[in-house]
């Protein structure tokens, strides 16, 4: 009975948190924050009692918060162009013909992203942004089928954001060196 009450409490708290997020809340992106992963699209999130954790987004060193530089002293230049002064290390290979920085990064609040609708999205919920185009993958990922999960098969797990495995600017999964090949079978001497 007490367990049921606790589960209901957790579910309620999650629902409130989700509502705030869905309304495009005013919270600043907290890299340590662990948003709850919804188990079904458009439904209140995660099964009650199942704790899901996510590591902070993989920012380059010293790059976040973006507003350290992109503050009021630096007016936004919304013209599409090749960057030459800063961020020159970023090469966009992600439908670059049709897209550039400010299609995902928000010019008004640099510390967050925005959806196609203009709704802001914090960096630690960037999967909502990715899910706009990659809906199929997004669905599989929410079900725990796309991407790696670590932890309990019947309980608390840790999931990764899309950007932990796919660089948002060059999303193709990088080739890697394989571990050593097995030795051929040994026979008794």
């Amino acid at each position: 009975m007490r367990r049921a009450a606790r589960l209901t409490g957790i579910a309620f708290a999650i629902a409130i948190a989700w509502t705030m997020v869905a309304r495009g809340g005013t919270q600043t992106p907290a890299p340590q924050g662990a948003p709850t992963l919804p188990s079904k699209p458009s439904a209140p999130p995660a099964e009650p009692g199942v704790r899901v954790e996510v590591p902070p987004p993989p920012f380059s060193d010293g790059i976040f918060p973006c507003t350290t530089c992109h503050n009021n002293d630096m007016p936004a230049n919304r013209a599409r162009r090749t960057l030459t002064d800063m961020h020159t290390d970023i090469v966009l290979k992600h439908d670059a013909e049709h897209r550039w920085c400010l299609d995902c990064h928000d010019a008004d609040n640099r510390d967050q992203l925005h959806l196609a609708s203009g709704d802001p999205v914090p960096f630690d919920e960037s999967y909502r942004l990715c899910g706009q185009c990659h809906g199929e993958k997004y669905r599989d990922w929410r079900a725990g089928v796309h991407g790696r999960r670590v932890g309990q098969w019947n309980g608390a797990k840790r999931y990764l954001l899309c950007v932990h495995c796919h660089s948002p600017h060059q999303p193709r999964f990088k080739p890697m060196a394989p571990q050593a090949a097995p030795h051929p079978p040994m026979r008794p001497k």
Binding site: G144, Q152, M176
Partner: protein
């Protein structure tokens, strides 16, 4: 005539006493002697486990625990592997070796990753487990990791002459290393090459021993017994994912309870294109391969 015959067959008192004594001794030896872990009473299992913990802790110089966790009620494990994601990195193989105390010299590796030709599809006669390029995936190749398929109709358990291997209630096919006589009939019966034989005593450096053991899983094996994947029984019966699933860099490995309609496994079975290896043999594996795309 008939009377004579019957008379000859009669036992003397002495003969009867000898036979009865032999039968009694046999019964006592069977009842009190060693038993298969499958049918061992709980209290004797506890005692055996205490002995193993002491022995292994001494041997490896660290505190070893041997779990006796049984199958959870309402759980039937299944595994699914995404063939469209696997990139042949063999991270699973190394994680498995470390987790399950497999022999480093000579090498025993429960997981074998087969590199196959995309033009030919799944063709075991053309598979290469020894691929070793600088980078994977190689163009034109795809990768099929194989290990024990935990068949529902397992040929290996049927051929074992000593009953040393069987299927647990949660679907894990296990081996009793104390009752295995090393005849390797199970290896001949397994169509997946999933079972491995210890030709010599396995060697694992003490500092690399995983001290979290299970009595049906990764406890040290002696020379002359067969071993194989147990779906990390020491982890999965404690609710954790198998080591290979957590090590996979592409997230191609999925594990869970087939009886839970909300599990990842059920989502895959219900929404993805799923295939079985050597389905025509009717082994009915609980290890599914699927295409996540």
């Amino acid at each position: 005539m008939a009377h004579d015959h019957t008379h000859k067959a009669d036992m003397t008192r002495r003969e009867f006493a000898s036979v009865a004594a032999a039968a009694a001794a046999g019964f006592l030896l069977t009842a009190c002697g060693p038993r298969r872990l499958r049918e061992i009473p709980r209290d004797r299992l506890r005692k055996a486990i205490a002995d193993w913990e002491r022995e292994y802790s001494e041997r490896y110089g660290k505190s070893v625990t041997v779990s006796d966790a049984g199958p959870m009620p309402g759980v039937l494990f299944a595994y699914a592997l995404d063939l469209s994601r696997c990139n042949g990195s063999r991270r699973c193989v190394d994680a498995c070796v470390a987790e399950n105390n497999q022999s480093r010299d000579p090498e025993v590796k429960w997981i074998r990753v087969l590199s196959m030709n995309k033009d030919k599809g799944i063709d075991f006669s053309d598979a290469d487990p020894y691929y070793s390029p600088a980078e994977v995936p190689e163009p034109g190749r795809f990768y099929v990791p194989t290990a024990c398929q935990h068949c529902r109709n397992a040929p290996c358990t049927k051929v074992c002459p000593t009953g040393a291997t069987w299927t647990e209630k949660d679907g894990i096919v296990v081996i009793d290393y104390d009752w295995c006589i090393g005849c390797r009939c199970c290896m001949a019966a397994c169509p997946y090459g999933a079972r491995h034989f210890n030709w010599v005593a396995p060697k694992v450096p003490s500092e690399q021993i995983n001290p979290a053991m299970h009595y049906l899983g990764n406890r040290p094996r002696p020379r002359g017994v067969v071993e194989k994947c147990t779906w990390c029984i020491q982890r999965t019966r404690a609710g954790r994912y198998p080591a290979c699933a957590e090590a996979c860099p592409t997230g191609a490995r999925k594990f869970g309870n087939m009886l839970d309609p909300d599990s990842e496994i059920r989502y895959i079975l219900e929404n993805k294109r799923v295939l079985l290896l050597k389905e025509e043999l009717n082994t009915m594996p609980k290890f599914f391969y699927f295409y996540g795309t």
